[in-house]
């Protein structure tokens, strides 16, 4: 694969949390993730998974090294530029769904486009379309509390998808779900990937990681080859 379709590129990235005592969470990690890949980042708790998620998600800066998203160096960007980049390039899926409780499923999904300067009607139309895609077309007007955990996570996936991001970044998306719902979410992610979407999932669950074409294992802040 050539460099043009490298979606995420970490180049000897280190992250040290200033102490005391200073903690080296990530030690000189280099990872390239290409367009259309289905990647699981596997690691025990304390392995630096969350730190890596924050870096790949542009939620946190690095201490050393470079982070390229779609070939663009992000380490020198301002906070505002990073915010916009997150909105445009990254579709986040969180373990606890993180839906806004006062908004309907459709409004929650439409919120994914809010900060991109798209007008409300277009947002709502796109949201309805994507919700149908995750088989929630009949739940547009439901509030999160009226939905099951699996359904809530599907709304969250729709919110990530509606942004048409360069990659989906899922943080333990099945962690709060029963086995069946969890499997359902994995199937949806897999289907998205089959349709060409780059998916990066962070998990500690080795069974789930088996479904992925590529697994990056993290131990003690370093990639295990």
């Amino acid at each position: 694969m050539n460099k043009n379709n490298t979606v995420i590129s970490l180049n000897r990235v280190s992250k040290t949390y200033e102490g005391p005592p200073p903690v080296k969470a990530i030690k000189s990690v280099s990872i390239d993730i290409h367009d259309g890949e289905f990647v699981a980042i596997l690691g025990e708790s304390g392995s630096g998974k969350t730190t890596l998620l924050n870096i790949i998600g542009l939620l946190d800066g690095v201490s050393k090294g470079k982070v390229y998203i779609d070939g663009q160096d992000t380490t020198s960007l301002t906070d505002n530029q990073l915010s916009r980049l997150r909105g445009e390039k990254i579709g986040f899926i969180f373990q606890s769904f993180f839906l806004l409780p006062g908004l309907t499923a459709q409004e929650n999904v439409a919120e994914g486009l809010l900060y991109q300067g798209i007008e409300r009607k277009t947002r709502m139309d796109k949201a309805a379309k994507v919700l149908k895609q995750v088989k929630l077309g009949d739940r547009l007007g439901h509030l999160p509390r009226e939905l099951s955990g699996g359904q809530q996570q599907r709304v969250a996936i729709a919110r990530a998808l509606v942004q048409n991001p360069s990659y989906i970044l899922a943080d333990e998306p099945t962690g709060n779900l029963d086995k069946e719902s969890g499997q359902n979410i994995l199937d949806i992610l897999k289907e998205l990937n089959n349709n060409g979407k780059t998916v990066v999932m962070i998990t500690h669950n080795r069974d789930h990681a088996k479904a992925f074409k590529r697994t990056i294992t993290l131990t003690d802040g370093e990639v295990v080859l």
Partner: protein, 393 residues
């Protein structure tokens, strides 16, 4: 880089926070609401009262001067020196002057009433000019006139008419003064600032002399001075009337009493406004408190918004606007409540309703400013939450 949020989006995001917690939002805005209600009703009630007071002052004029002998040591009143009316008339800026003579005549509705039941009504002997000088109006009939000579007729003050049960003069009406029957020829309107005149029966000097042998020595004089020289007239009046003992003449301007009343009301209004401001301040602190709490509770929301592209300033704007809207909501409810209180009070006190619009707008603006100040710290705090920390479950 994509463009910023539209105004309606910014607004709807801020409204979301308020709508998602309706009960709390209303409770939070109550503090501001009470403050604004207090301010608006104080402004409204004082403006309504003032309008009436000013109307009274205007109809009365500030150039009316009253002079009477000071009360003696045992409460007895000395008479004014003879010829005093002529002396006063010769003061340049005096435009009109008239006198009254207090009597101890007894007024009764009829001879079936015991002589012991006077009812606090006194008989005042006066000139026809009195009506003009004190600025009185008639409810019915006419005031005593010089042409009536020694005819036994009388005009009643408003309180007198009320006490004697005489509402109008549709049928000929007579009252008993001492043991002489007098025909009632007129009833005066209430003279707001002359309660003593309201409680009186007016008869002419000639009939008083003929029937009761009362001399024309005045006990009180009323005069109108040129408005420019009112102060000067007040200064020279006592020495003119009684050159030997000017301290035995008491000079007063009835309008002074009204002005004093107005000043007192203004002082009271300021006090209430101060209390209203304290309520506003407390309301502001309550909003700040709730907003700080809200920011802590809504870390997840902040994290989500940051991860879907919100910048720090957009988060800050959201919480700031939410706080301003909360205060605005309180301000709006407060204006309604305050206007309601004012309407209720003006009906109860029977005064003209008046609320100065610009002051009400000012009150709402004040609420919005307090909301903005209260929201500033929480909003800055919200914007400083690191996205990585906010999305940690």
């Amino acid at each position: 880089m994509s463009k910023k949020l539209g105004l309606s989006d910014i607004y709807s995001v801020a409204v979301y926070g308020i709508k998602a917690r309706k009960g709390r939002s209303i409770m939070t805005s109550i503090g501001i609401g009470i403050g604004i209600a207090a301010i608006v009703s104080v402004i409204g009630i004082s403006a309504s009262g003032k309008a009436d007071l000013i109307a009274t002052l205007e109809s009365l004029g500030t150039n009316l001067i009253k002079a009477s002998p000071t009360s003696g040591f045992f409460g007895t009143q000395d008479d004014l020196p003879e010829g005093v009316l002529g002396m006063v008339e010769r003061i340049g800026p005096v435009e009109e002057v008239t006198s009254t003579t207090q009597t101890d005549l007894l007024v009764r509705r009829s001879d079936f009433i015991s002589e012991l039941e006077g009812g606090g009504i006194s008989v005042i002997v006066t000139n026809p000019e009195l009506l003009d000088v004190v600025g009185g109006n008639l409810v019915d009939g006419r005031f005593i006139e010089s042409g009536l000579g020694s005819l036994p007729v009388a005009t009643l003050g408003s309180v007198t008419a009320n006490r004697l049960g005489i509402k109008n003069l549709d049928t000929p009406t007579k009252i008993l003064i001492n043991n002489e029957w007098f025909g009632v020829i007129g009833i005066l309107e209430k003279l707001s600032i002359h309660p003593d005149l309201d409680r009186s029966v007016f008869i002419g000097y000639k009939v008083a002399k003929d029937l009761f042998d009362i001399d024309s020595e005045p006990s009180t004089i009323y005069l109108r001075a040129n408005p420019t020289y009112v102060e000067d007239v007040v200064d020279v009046l006592a020495p003119t009337m009684n050159p030997e003992n000017p301290d035995q003449v008491e000079v007063s301007r009835p309008s002074d009493a009204l002005e004093a009343q107005q000043a007192a009301e203004e002082a009271f209004t300021s006090l209430l406004l101060g209390l209203g401001s304290v309520a506003l301040l407390v309301g502001g602190v309550a909003i700040a408190n709730v907003m700080v709490m809200s920011v802590l509770e809504r870390r997840m929301e902040i994290g989500v918004r940051r991860s879907i592209g919100a910048t720090r300033s957009e988060i800050r704007t959201q919480f700031l606007l939410e706080s301003i809207l909360l205060a605005g909501l309180g301000g709006f409810l407060g204006v309604l409540l305050g206007a309601g209180i004012t309407v209720g009070y003006t009906r109860y006190a029977d005064i003209t309703f008046s609320i100065p619009v610009w002051q009400v707008l000012g009150a709402i603006l004040l609420a919005l400013i307090i909301g903005a100040l209260a929201g500033l710290y929480p909003a800055i705090r919200a914007s400083k939450i690191q996205p990585a920390e906010a999305v940690r479950s």
